[in-house]
């Protein structure tokens, strides 16, 4: 019920009632999302969406920082166990 999904804002416009809406892509499915609670959001930003409302902009720096810490943990671990799968992370060239 409290499920919220990240999506990428493609286009921003106002609806006939003057409400700020964003056309947002969720992995290929595009839906209209209300952006009234996220006035700073611009095209290209990722937003976290719940029942048609963007509740927060996804903080890219924080996301990458968290992921980097996890990645470092993995790389330390790789000294112990060989990794047979490549990482899904696009910015990681590691395929060992």
């Amino acid at each position: 019920m409290c499920l919220a999904i990240p999506g990428k804002v493609l286009e921003i416009q106002q609806d006939p009632q003057g409400v700020r809406m964003g056309k947002t892509n969720f992995g290929g499915i595009v839906k209209q999302v209300c952006l009234e609670y996220t006035p700073d959001v611009q095209c290209g930003d990722y937003v976290l969406v719940h029942v048609g409302f963007a509740l927060s902009k996804v903080d890219e720096e924080e996301a990458e920082r968290t992921y980097r810490i996890l990645e470092e943990m993995k790389q330390l671990g790789e000294l112990e166990t060989p990794d047979m799968n490549s990482s899904p992370s696009a910015n990681n060239g590691d395929s060992s």
Partner: protein, 380 residues
């Protein structure tokens, strides 16, 4: 980054589990508050990856599950009226009332519609001026901004035939209620990431301090959950009890101020009855006086309702983290997602439905119970 797949990496998950193993020196009991977290934990089998010393119990954070039977019966009484179009999120349709559910009413001819967002109801109301459009506004703080906006816009735009039946619940009072119970076994919480996206986490700080309990605001992907568990265990092992934020990519300490401001304009805090738990003071929202024209409870004179819960169902104890789904004699037998007896089996996020969906009824002894003294451990 797409903010989903990156947080489902199996190798990273294994490393986190190893780190958890290295961190713990004794048994601990953790509760994930939110039903979405429960669903992820059971779906990905995270509880099975963890060392036996770490027990996860499942919290009350499924609004579908905790909506009181009286409120569901009220919804059913309103939905049965011929002058009403009753709109709801899809997962409320099969929640059993005392006698029927919304889906049965729909099959009997009632105009019951599933909507993706409460805002969709305004369009339905404009298109059907001769009908009364009622939205079943359930949810935790995560859903409150959407429900508040629907009423706010209805008032601003003069959509007079739209009202909401409010059954909002709040997380912090329910956590405090669990911690005050003599049956409580929970030593740390994984806090609800999306509730805190809206509300921030300031209001959790006095709870952590008062009850000496670590609270880690946690996301919903497998790596989020494992990292949240690790952060909570580190606090427990170090004797700390603070609020920490694992889900920093979306949660800020102050939350979304714009959303909270509108929620405060539309809703007022009230006492609320939780299904299976009972009444918790100041644990819900009701509409403020200036929005009475959009308050379905006032607009429809619903008579005193005589509710009836099945005797065998233990969903109340499951919601409080005292019992697990497979402790119930009806689990997977008389009670299944097709024929649910209690609300924790109806919603996909209910602990019983999650256990059933991912096959836990087939092999309920898959995991050794934690050592008996785990339940006696007190916070340092």
């Amino acid at each position: 980054m797409k903010y989903l797949d990156e947080y489902r990496d199996q190798n990273l998950a294994e490393k986190l589990v190893q780190e958890i193993q290295r961190t713990i020196t004794r048994p601990w009991v953790l509760m994930e508050v939110c039903g979405g977290q429960t669903h992820s934990i059971v779906k990905y089998g995270l509880d099975h990856l963890l060392p036996n010393e770490v027990e996860l119990v499942h919290g009350p954070g499924c609004p579908v599950c905790v909506t009181s039977l009286e409120m569901i019966d009220k919804a059913l009484a309103i939905a049965a009226r011929p002058d009403v179009i009753f709109c709801s999120f899809g997962d409320m349709l099969r929640v059993p009332g005392s006698h029927v559910d919304l889906l049965i009413l729909k099959s009997q001819g009632a105009d019951v519609r599933v909507v993706y967002s409460p805002i969709d109801c305004l369009k339905i109301a404009r298109a059907n001026p001769d009908k009364k459009v009622v939205f079943f506004a359930i949810g935790f703080e995560t859903t409150a901004p959407a429900n508040a906006m629907s009423v706010w816009q209805a008032k601003q735009q003069g959509v007079k035939n739209f009202s909401i039946l409010v059954s909002h619940v709040l997380v912090p009072p329910s956590i405090a209620c669990i911690l005050q119970s003599p049956l409580n076994r929970v030593q740390a919480f994984l806090g609800p990431g999306h509730v805190c996206t809206v509300m921030g986490y300031r209001e959790y700080e006095p709870i952590a301090a008062r009850f000496r309990v670590p609270i880690v605001i946690t996301g919903f992907e497998p790596l989020d959950l494992l990292e949240g568990i690790l952060m909570a265990l580190r606090q427990l092992e170090q004797g700390r009890a603070a609020v920490e934020n694992q889900y920093s990519r979306v949660v800020k300490r102050e939350g979304n101020r714009i959303a909270v401001e509108l929620v405060d304009k539309v809703f007022d805090v009230c006492d609320r009855k939780w299904r299976g738990v009972g009444s918790i003071p100041k644990s819900g929202y009701k509409l403020r006086g200036e929005f009475h024209d959009h308050d379905a409870e006032r607009l429809f004179d619903v008579k005193e309702i005589d509710t009836k819960e099945p005797d065998i169902c233990i969903s109340g104890l499951v919601l409080k983290g005292v019992k697990k789904p497979h402790d119930c004699p009806a689990f997977g037998k008389q009670c299944t997602p097709e024929h649910p007896l209690g609300a924790t089996m109806v919603s996909a996020e209910g602990a019983c439905a999650a256990y059933y969906t991912y096959g836990r009824h087939l092999h309920s002894q898959e995991r050794q119970p934690p050592p008996a003294h785990a339940t006696e451990t007190v916070l340092p």
